[in-house]
């Protein structure tokens, strides 16, 4: 059976991406990263989502991205609220997807699979540079030169991005079709201590907009 490493944040997009990989028949190795983000509640959500969507294994890897600073998601910088940010927002974490994909690549190579799934989205993507198709293609090209398997010509690394060209509403509809457990996923950048979403950050606003446009309820 074919297998894949699936990056899983605990948010709606990565859960949908994992469910999509499962629907294609992949055995999924779910990978979550604790990078010092404020919203640890995501990681608990990831654990529940991985179990519900029958990942073969779920691994939580720690990496100290917060030591580098420079983002509202890891630093003591307020998360912007009350309206969608223009351009590249302060919630951008330097090189985050590059670090995540590198870790996924390391696990994929150790497992002997060329398949990696990531739920990036270039449309409603909050302006992050590392969510665009040209970035993903460049990562794939690099990955095929980086690895033992690539050099030996045994495997062609493939970064699967099934959500990259979908609107948030289309993602919500796809998630609904794939029976993604909405209630288990968490998107908020700045939840309260009990884990309830703030309702005002970019991630909350995009999520609400997606459900409204899809005509579905978020529960």
């Amino acid at each position: 059976m074919k297998s894949a490493v699936c990056l899983l944040s605990g948010g709606l997009d990565s859960a949908t991406c994992l469910a999509f990989a499962r629907s294609l028949g992949y055995q999924c190795y779910a990978l979550s990263i604790d990078y010092g983000q404020r919203h640890k509640i995501e990681l608990e959500a990831a654990h529940r989502v991985a179990a519900r969507l029958e990942a073969v294994r779920h691994l939580l890897v720690h990496v100290d991205l917060d030591l580098f600073g420079g983002s509202a998601l890891t630093d003591n910088i307020p998360v912007p609220k009350g309206g969608l940010s223009q351009g590249i927002p302060i919630t951008y974490v330097p090189a985050r997807n590059t670090v995540f994909l590198s870790l996924a690549l390391a696990w994929a190579e150790a497992l002997g699979t060329p398949h990696i799934f990531i739920g990036v989205n270039a449309l409603d993507y909050s302006g992050y540079p590392d969510c665009r198709p040209e970035y993903i293609q460049a990562f794939e090209a690099m990955a095929n030169l980086a690895t033992k398997a690539g050099v030996e010509g045994k495997l062609r690394v493939k970064i699967h991005t099934p959500l990259i060209q979908l609107s948030k509403a289309q993602i919500v509809k796809l998630a609904h079709e794939l029976q993604v457990p909405f209630g288990l996923t968490r998107s908020c950048y700045d939840p309260d201590p009990a884990g309830r979403p703030c309702g005002q950050c970019d991630a909350c606003l995009l999520r609400r907009k997606g459900f409204e446009e899809a005509g579905l309820e978020d529960r």
Copy 2:
């Protein structure tokens, strides 16, 4: 003054690379990675080397590459000894340099510098795929699409690899010219509990060969 992130393992090559960056006038931010390697002694060496070579800052980042398995450097697989390995050896750590460069990229972007130094070597390189010029070029191309600074056209990421085409003997000679403190560096993959090199692994054999061919003493 121009600044750079310099990957520093504590071995001879990365120490020489840091000294080279310093000789070009860069303020150096030294980055060492604890990835679950057996040879922790390297990290203590990195600390001493960073201080001696006047790095502005030295950061030690943890990342759990050992969770993925698949290498003699992180697993309970014996390190090969007694003769240089052919092809890609079991000491290869899947995607290691990709993970290291990704972390360097994250710090560089947070610091606002496009310059990254890494002491990879394609000649006496023990057969690692992620030490070749074509790999470094592909990483650089990817990095320029990954980052906020790259997208905004403010910075062109540059991965400096001053040692990439040098023989081990040439690296030893360069290190000598740059007054690298040989005695502080550690190369061995499998040191004894007191930190003494085994003298038999690929890293020890290459180091000895380099000093012999350079006609210099390793002290």
